[in-house]
């Protein structure tokens, strides 16, 4: 049991802190779910990348620093503690990149990763379809073989960032005759500006186009943009969604910083005693998440893997995030309804947490069946 960092890690922390102190914008950028905010966040990615801070855990040859998991955690703590902007490249970095590292070719990595690291290409995910939300195996969009590649057709939705992004990745049915619906799916990357792609932005609750529908009509994708073997998409994607729920989506630093902001708000509001326990729980929860993650990272560093316990992780942060924001709004009292107060966008964002990346109902089923060994029900 050891929570100390190496001298290298401490030096890395100091370097990150110093860089962030010098570079983090003094005023928050506009919402990244707006066109102007998207551009500002893309510019911030370039600024990060210029000093190799955008993808610290990647190999140096793709723009990273070969940082191990503990240095990644250190960076995230410093990043959010510094109040740095949200990451517009999050989907690419945390979902697509791990897949490319595990299942892509060297050619694909060399072609895709550097522009992802610099924010030059921002990636959107394209998993869901109208009739396939929690039930991904029900996907219908198809990719049909053509000369030198595939033609994508169908209807994707809830594609985060797609309103302003450049490229996307997702699963497409390449073998409609496959024995089981999980089979016959292929993992593909495609261009959102390609002929045949129609992007229809969808406003979330606060009206901002945080995601989009994609209508695909014979969109050509060259063979080089297939990840892994055709027909293996489900297996590859499951590894990716495991990652999505695991370490890489919600770093502890994010919640440590949020809890800290909540404590400041509580103090500013006169330490309202009726909210004391909830504020303390936010602090305790952030610390618990930090330490839970440290244990997972330690297992990972020791050669272990993250399995169904990533569902615990997802349940925890998604509910934590809502509770934290609700507490903040309560501290604001009637001012909490103002859309221009600093907690408003985070609150709206938090509400999506229990829905995406596998609804919390599904996650609880997984925890009960895989971690506790309870019988599968009809749900």
């Amino acid at each position: 049991m050891d929570l100390t960092h190496t001298a290298d890690e401490d030096a890395f922390r100091a370097e990150a802190r110093e860089w962030l102190r010098a570079h983090v914008p003094a005023r928050p950028l506009p919402s990244l779910e707006t066109e102007v905010g998207f551009a500002a966040h893309r510019a911030w990615e370039a600024e990060l990348a210029a000093d190799r801070w955008s993808v610290v855990s990647w190999p140096e040859r793709y723009g990273g620093r070969d940082a191990g998991i503990f240095r990644w955690l250190v960076f995230e703590e410093e990043y959010y503690a510094a109040g740095a902007p949200g990451r517009v490249s999050q989907n690419g970095i945390s979902l697509l990149a791990p897949t490319l590292f595990d299942h892509g070719t060297e050619e694909q990595r060399a072609r895709v990763l550097p522009s992802m690291a610099s924010g030059e290409a921002v990636w959107a995910q394209a998993w869901s379809e109208p009739e396939a939300g929690s039930d991904l195996a029900a996907l219908r969009s198809r990719a049909v073989r053509t000369d030198g590649g595939w033609l994508l057709s169908g209807h994707k939705t809830w594609s985060s960032r797609a309103a302003f992004a450049d490229r996307a990745f997702g699963l497409f049915r390449t073998d409609p005759e496959a024995a089981k619906p999980h089979h016959g799916l292929t993992y593909l990357m495609f261009d959102l500006r390609a002929p045949g792609v129609t992007v229809r932005p969808i406003g979330r609750l606060d009206g901002r186009p945080a995601f989009a529908e994609l209508f695909l009509d014979e969109v050509f994708v060259p063979d080089e943009d297939v990840i892994g073997e055709p027909g293996q998409g489900w297996r590859i994607a499951m590894a990716t969604t495991g990652d999505e729920r695991g370490l890489t989506l919600r770093s502890p630093g994010r919640f440590l910083a949020a809890a800290d902001r909540l404590v400041r708000l509580w103090r500013e509001r006169g330490e309202e005693p009726g909210a004391r326990d909830r504020v303390a729980d936010a602090v305790i929860g952030a610390r618990a998440y930090q330490l839970f993650t440290a244990a997972g990272a330690s297992r990972f560093a020791a050669g272990g893997t993250i399995g169904a316990e990533s569902s615990l992780n997802k349940l925890f942060w998604s509910e934590y995030d809502i509770t934290l924001h609700e507490t903040a709004l309560d501290l604001l009292g009637p001012e909490g309804e103002r859309a221009d107060q600093e907690w408003a966008e985070g609150y709206v964002f938090s509400l999506a947490g229990p829905i995406y990346a596998g609804t919390n109902e599904i996650q609880r089923d997984i925890v009960a069946e895989r971690l506790l060994g309870l019988p599968k029900g009809r749900r």
């Binding site: 929690s134 979330r204 330490e271 009292g333 009637p334 309804e337 408003a344 509400l351």
Partner: protein
């Protein structure tokens, strides 16, 4: 004892439901949020025709009131149909002016009430001072045994229960939760009234709802009622159909004196009750829509409404709403501060919980503004906090207790 709606009251609810169901309120809400008040004003006129704006106003001013139970009935329907506009505020303005008239200041009533009742005058209202502080602990607590500092001494028992004497007691004392608290163990018995909390008092929002649409922006400040001449820029709420703006200082004074503060307290209870009823209606609509949705939405080959986790969450939603409902009617019968506060807390929380449930069970589609569900989802939380946050209401409930909670007639 017949704690049920009468046939007439039920018919009134059905009539409003039918009228609003045909009025395309969803389009009116969306237009309202975009600053186009035309369709909303059309609904407003129909509400006037249905008599909604006459419920707080006595016959002398062309009303039929005060009818708080009917107000609850109406506002549940307004919530169910997500009607936009300063609804509770107009009702409360009617109550304020009526009360003021009863206390001897009838000029503003004569001038404004007929327009309010007829639907031609959409009003909004801000009570800025001595407006309800937003945390219970920060409520002024007079020294042990003394009466409320500015109000008349309370008649009655050794432990005064201001609500018991009259259905409309001194509004100000009630609004600020200043019922005398002589018992031992209360905080800071020897200190000045405000000792025990150096907390800043966030106070009310200080903004008027939909001032840009209203024909009359009424502002109560201390013992003065005035008609603001304009307002500052519109600030968006988490519900875009709630447009907030700070009234300009100055404007035309309408009345001055202790009666203003008393009438403002009465109006604040009326506003809280109406808002609570809207919360209940919003929650009921969200539940109804979600029940329909989970019956038809299938995942894993079966309607998600057959999953036990979904069923239980919806059952809990119904439970909270159905136990908030009688609190509303009970509060309408007494208009006591503590009763209104209890109803407001319960209905506000139940409506918001219904929104959380509706969003979760709709999944991603519920998170979009284009699904009409969003029109209700976004209302739930602002309504929960307007005219008394749950925390403030809970504090008022405790402040309003006598030596025993007591039964109906006990």
């Amino acid at each position: 004892m017949r704690f049920l709606l009468t046939d007439e009251q039920q018919a009134f609810a059905r009539a409003l439901d039918t009228m609003l169901g045909a009025a395309d309120t969803a389009a009116a809400v969306r237009a309202w949020g975009a600053g186009d008040h035309t369709p909303g004003r059309a609904v407003w006129t129909r509400l006037a025709e249905a008599g909604v704006w006459s419920l707080a106003v006595p016959e002398a001013y062309e009303g039929v009131g005060p009818l708080p139970v009917e107000t609850v009935v109406a506002f549940v329907e307004l919530g169910r149909h997500a009607v936009p506009g300063p609804l509770a505020e107009t009702a409360a303005a009617g109550a304020l002016l009526s009360r003021l008239a009863a206390l001897g200041h009838d000029t503003p009533a004569k001038r404004l009430l007929p327009g309010i009742v007829g639907g031609g005058t959409m009003a909004t209202l801000v009570v800025s001072e001595p407006g309800p502080p937003e945390t219970g602990s920060a409520a002024p607590r007079p020294e042990a045994g003394s009466a409320a500092p500015d109000g008349p001494p309370e008649a009655g028992s050794a432990r005064p229960r201001p609500e018991a004497a009259s259905a409309t007691p001194d509004g100000r004392a009630e609004t600020v939760g200043a019922a005398p608290r002589p018992e031992a163990g209360s905080a800071a018995p020897d200190g000045p009234p405000e000792a025990g909390s150096a907390a800043p008092r966030p106070g009310a929002l200080g903004m008027a709802l939909d001032a840009d649409a209203a024909d009359a922006v009424l502002v109560v400040q201390g013992e003065e009622l005035r008609l603001a001449a304009g307002h500052g820029p519109v600030v968006r709420s988490l519900d875009p159909a709630r447009r907030l703006a700070r009234p300009d200082a100055g404007g035309e004074p309408l009345a001055v004196g202790p009666a203003v503060a008393e009438a403002a307290g009465y109006a604040a209870r009326w506003a809280a009750l109406a808002t609570a009823a809207q919360s209940l209606g919003v929650g009921l609509a969200l539940l109804e829509r979600t029940v329909s949705y989970v019956k038809q939405r299938s995942q894993f080959g079966t309607p998600i409404g057959s999953f036990q986790a979904v069923k239980h969450r919806l059952a809990d939603t119904l439970l909270a709403l159905e136990f908030a409902r009688p609190l509303l009617y009970g509060a309408a019968l007494t208009l006591r501060t503590a009763d209104v506060a209890a109803a407001k807390a319960a209905a506000g929380e139940a409506g918001y919980a219904a929104a959380r449930t509706a969003l979760q069970l709709h999944g991603a589609v519920g998170y979009t503004e284009e699904l009409d569900l969003s029109l209700w989802l976004r209302k739930a939380r602002p309504l929960r906090d307007a005219w008394g946050t749950p925390a403030r209401c809970r504090a008022l409930v405790l402040d309003g207790l006598g030596d025993r909670p007591g039964g109906f007639g006990g």
